[in-house]
Structure formats: C-alpha cells, structure tokens
Symmetry: C3
Subunit: 266 residues, 3 copies
C-alpha cells in the first residue's frame, strides 16, 4: 500500500539532496559521511561550538551520535539541537552505548530533556535503557531488552513525544500511535562496525524530506536493509560486504525501494 | 612537452618517499594517510600543540585541512605552519567548507594572513569565497563561483602571493603568472566523501619534491585524476570505485603519469 | 607443538567474544574496531575521562595507542589503565611514533612508569627508542634499530617486567625468559596505514582470553599474518588487499590458525 509513498519520498530525496549535519563519533564518521551520499543526501560533519549553529541553520536534518562522547561535543550538540528545533528540522539521536556508562546515560537523558528529539534511533538494548525496560548493553553492543519491544517502544514514544526507531532483525518504528515493522536487512550488517550509526544517517536523509517521521524512518531502514540484503549475496566477508553495502545503496532506485521494501503495520 | 618533467618528478617522489605532516579533519584522515602512501609519500598525522613543531621540523611538506576545525587545531596549525615556513617546506591549505560558517572563513583568512601558505587547494566555491568572488558553498560542497574561474584564480594568486589549485572537471593551477589546466579525473570522484582532501594530500607529496609549485600541483592533480579514470572503469559504485582509486594510484608509474597526463597551459 | 594450544585459544576467543576497550588515534580507529570484530572480539572506543574507568571495568583487555596523542587522552589512558591494572586485565601499549617527538617519548615512558603495561607492541624502531637502543623513527615509520633486536627485546622485557612484541618481517615476542618468533605475514601489510595499530587490537583480543602473554601475542601475530598472506594473493593493490585482510581474518578458523601458524622458539 505504501509503494507509491516510498517511491515518492525516495525520488524527492534523490532530487533535493538534503544537507544532513552530523555531530558524531570519530570511529564511524567516514562511513556516516559516505552512506549519507549513497542514500541521496549531502553530509556535513562539524562539531566546534563556534560553528555548529550556523551549520544547523543551513541543514535539513541534524544527527546526534554519542559514540565517542566528550564535554565539548555535548555543548555543541545542545547548540546545534536548539537551532534545529527553532528551525523545526528533524533531530535524530543515536544513543550509542547508552547504559554502558553513567556518562552516556546522563548525557542521552539530558539531550532528550533539553532538546526536542524527533527520532530516537537505537538498538533494543539502548532503547530499553532509556525506556527504563532493563536494556542490556555491553560496551556499545546491545544484548536485547526484557519484555515486548514493540509495546515498550510504543509506550516510550508516547511518553517522550517522539518517534522511536529500533534496529534489529525486525526493525520497529513507532510514535506510539502508528507502528511500522521493517523486515529488510541481513545478519552480515551485524558483523561490521558502524551499521547502526549509518542507519541513523540514512534516517536523517529520509526524515529531511518527509513530514511523517514514522514513515520516513521505516523507509530509511528498508532502503538500508535492502542494500544490505543485496550486498550480502556475493560478499566473501565483512569488508567486501561493506564495499557492496555502499555500492548497493548508491545504486538503489525509488522503484527498487518500492518493490523490495518489506514494511508492515505493527 | 612536460612529459619528461612529470616522469622525473614522480620518479623522485617514489624514490624519496617524502614525509607529509597533516593537521586534518577526523572524517577523511584515514583516506588522507593511505592516499599519501599510494602517491609515494609517508604520512604523519599529529595535531597536539605539544608536538606539531617537532613533526613539522622533520617533514617535507605540511597539509592543513579545516574540515573539522576546532580551537586546539587552529593553534597547532599556526605552530606547525611557522616551523614549516622557517624551514621553507611547502604548506598546503585546504579551506574545506570555507564560507559555510564565519568560523571557517575567519580561520582560513587568519591562516592565510599569519602563515606563508604555498598552495591554496580548494574547489571553485571555496576559492571564490576567499577571493571575494561570491563563492557558493553549502556545507562542505561547492556550488561554483560567479565569473571566470581562471581569471579569478590568477588575480587572487597574484595578490596573495601563492599558488591557487582549484579542483574541478578541469583543474586550474596558477601562481598568477603561469597557469596550467588539468583535464584528468572522473565524475565518480564527486560521489565519494574526501576526494578533495585526498587531492590536497597528493599535492603535498608532489610539492615536497619540487621547486615549481604550479607544476607540482598540476602533476599531483593529473596523477590523482588518472587513478580516478582507471578506477572508474569496472567500479560498480562509489565504494568499489574507492578501493580501485587507491589501488590505481599505488600502481601508477612515472611512465604512466607522463603518458596519460592531460595538462595544458592556460 | 603448539598447534593444540593455538586451536584452543582461538576457539575460546571466538566463543567468548571479549570486549576490548581502546583509547586510540583517530586515523586508524575504524580499522581497529573492525579488525577487533574480525578477530573474534567486540570493540569499544571511548576516551572521555568521564567514562573510561567504567568502560575499562567491563572490558577484558585495554589497548592504548598514542598515534594522535593529546592531553585529554593521556589523562584518560591513566584512568583506564589504573582500572585495568586493578582488575588484572591485560593492557597493551602501542607507542606509535615514539622517538619522533619528545611528547610521544615522554608520554610513552610515563605510561610505562605509572601503569603495569602487560604487552608493549611496536615496530623495531619504537621498541629500540624505549629500550635505549637507538631506535630510528621517522614520523610514525620505523627504520629499524641498532644491534640484535631479539637480545634487545629480551633485555628490555626483563628490565621492564612486561612482554615485548615487535612486529616485522619476523615478529619477535618475549618476556625475557621465553621468546617466540613468528614468520607469518606479507610485505603488502606495510603498504597500508594502520596495520601496526590493527596488530595491537588483535593482540588485545587474544590476550583477553589467555594467561600466557607471550603465547597470546604470538598467536595474534600469526593469525593476523596468515590473514595478510591469504589477502595478498589476489589483491591488485593496497586497498583491495585491505578488503581481503579483514575478510580473511574473519574467515580464519581455529583449525586454519593451528595449521598455518609459523611460530618457533627464539
């Protein structure tokens, strides 16, 4: 049913090439920049307090990722986030490793309190921590959450007033009222550092050109997941898979997305 | 006419393996390190104020890139730049995203004022901003400049007393008196994050072993561009292109460069 | 003779998937994260003073790499290192570029003084500098050391009370009493930025699951070296080699390691 909408949104993304401002970690930042391009956006990475407001002022979406958090970055996230909120562009928060240290948990909560986060993108463990559902995070890896993830995501989305997007074997996207489940993806995505961060970047690209954050997040997950499925066939290991992942997303057409997306109402 | 010179310079580069000190952004830094090796140089990335003077003191060229600028880096750029100037080794400035924020513009101008920049390497938009020619920069992407880019580059090079190297479909290199145009390259280079930064690194490698900055810059652009042309044939997308780009530059011989370079006087 | 031990250690690594906390440079950090996964571990990169103790408290090994040293990182290395020492998990120090600047030399010595470093992993030049054997380091490249490297490594290991692991054509691993020489590897590993850093990450993964640091280091060097040998066949240059290096390490089985390792007593 959503085939036409998928086609239209991805066509718009490719046409507009939205600028996505990232304040992100130094581990996967190059992957995030390149995947943004492959998804159809234009990346800009800037985290100096002196300039983040100006960057956010020209961007179409803002991605905040706490993967290698530090004091300076937190200040910049608040400045850029406020500007993004003022301009009503979507702000995607990827709370990498939240729960692993108090610093990450406190900072993620602070950003959620002080800013209007539009989409909270994480794995089940991270969302579980923030939702108070006993998320299990070891380092930056999720080991699931206790209970029914769909119900937890819906409750938390409603309470926090945002869209929750949980990446996993089945991705869950919900704003509390509307829920979409995305079945695209491939287990090899888990054998690579940074696929979670990249998913947040792709979400930023799609959210930049949509008014429906649940749909945009699901479309982004589907696009990235389809690229993963296609990349896996023929990959001989995690790095040839990586090369193919970027190539496949860059080659994905709006028509491909509309046809291969496996999104259902949850 | 310059075939022998190209052969000689690239042979010297491969023989000497010049050490190129980078103070650069954390997005494309790994690409810059590896492309430096592929071009025939040895990279060292160091940006702590405590050590940049010592690094610049043993290097054969210094590359300054403001892609993810911050206060600490600016101080280090000044320290390393002064040492490089004292030692009369070439200093390449890549003013990434200048014009997108006041901080980038101010910092680039400050570096141009305080240091003897040898080669200013940018895209048309960035050079346009610095030359006062209404460069159009969105994030870190150039959208061209108003007017005749060759004339603007020549005027600015003369006024500022440096070599201007503009990457584009046709690369422009000039010191105001001598101008070279380089036709090598491939549009796929624009589908990858970091090719601009990499071009600056390759320029550093070539400049380290030359006394003619216009010629060295043109030779570097030609070498990198030829690698891009060869990489594009057979690439299935931006990341298989990337793999091939590094492989092709590493495989390029002085003879290949002399034969395949398309450099003409402008 | 050590075939069974190699099989057992690598099987344990793959089963346990040890968390390896890195405080490392921003040049090769992505490679270190991904090679850790390929070796069988789980990486976490975190360097904020606010959280490094908590990260080290849940990790099974700590890797400290001074490739892009700065004040903030040194403080974090001391905090994380103390926690790792208290918990008696192995601490691997990679003194990248030591000797090139006083700052690197002083910092490496300070870390060696203040922390119980378990394994000191470097190239011949770096170890030579720390052992007072006239190591020759240019930028971050080693140009060998004066004298007999095995004897120098043994003496230094004994004096400093740690395991010395020198990567090279023949890798040398010794605690002063027991010495192992590893013949695996391929010259193409030298054409890529970051293979030294990656070797330290793989060492962290193996050390996390062993009580014999000499054996664990030799096993790690052998595993990484075998991946390099396999990757080299078929590679067309440094970047296709890189892709294959990660793929081959990920595909390496405990049986492969036991069969292809070339480790001998020194």
């Amino acid at each position: 049913m959503k085939k036409q909408q998928l086609f239209d949104l991805f066509s718009l993304v490719r046409e507009k090439r939205p600028l996505v401002h990232h304040i992100t970690n130094y581990v996967t930042v190059n992957d995030c920049a390149n995947i943004t391009i492959c998804a159809g956006g234009a990346p800009v990475m800037a985290d100096a307090a002196e300039e983040v407001e100006e960057m956010a002022a020209i961007a179409s979406a803002l991605v905040l990722n706490i993967g290698t958090l530090n004091r300076v970055q937190v200040e910049s996230m608040e400045l850029a986030g406020s500007m993004a909120n003022d301009r009503k562009i979507p702000v995607i928060l990827d709370p990498v490793g939240v729960g692993a240290t108090q610093y990450r948990t406190k900072t993620a909560r602070r950003l959620l309190d002080e800013l209007d986060i539009t989409i909270l993108k994480g794995n089940a463990g991270e969302i579980g921590v923030l939702a108070g559902a006993e998320g299990n995070v070891r380092g930056v890896d999720s080991h699931g959450l206790a209970g029914n993830p769909v119900a937890i995501a819906q409750d938390y989305a409603k309470t926090a007033g945002l869209t929750v997007a949980i990446s996993g074997a089945t991705d869950i996207v919900t704003d509390g009222k509307h829920t979409l489940l995305v079945e695209n993806g491939h287990p090899m995505m888990g054998s690579l550092s940074g696929t979670g961060c990249m998913a947040a970047s792709v979400t930023g690209v799609f959210a930049a050109e949509s008014k429906d954050m649940v749909f945009a997040s699901a479309a982004a997950f589907a696009a990235f997941g389809i690229a993963g499925e296609r990349a896996a066939s023929g990959a001989r290991g995690p790095f040839s898979f990586r090369t193919a992942l970027f190539d496949e997303l860059a080659a994905l057409t709006p028509d491909d997305l509309a046809r291969a997306a496996r999104i259902r109402t949850g």
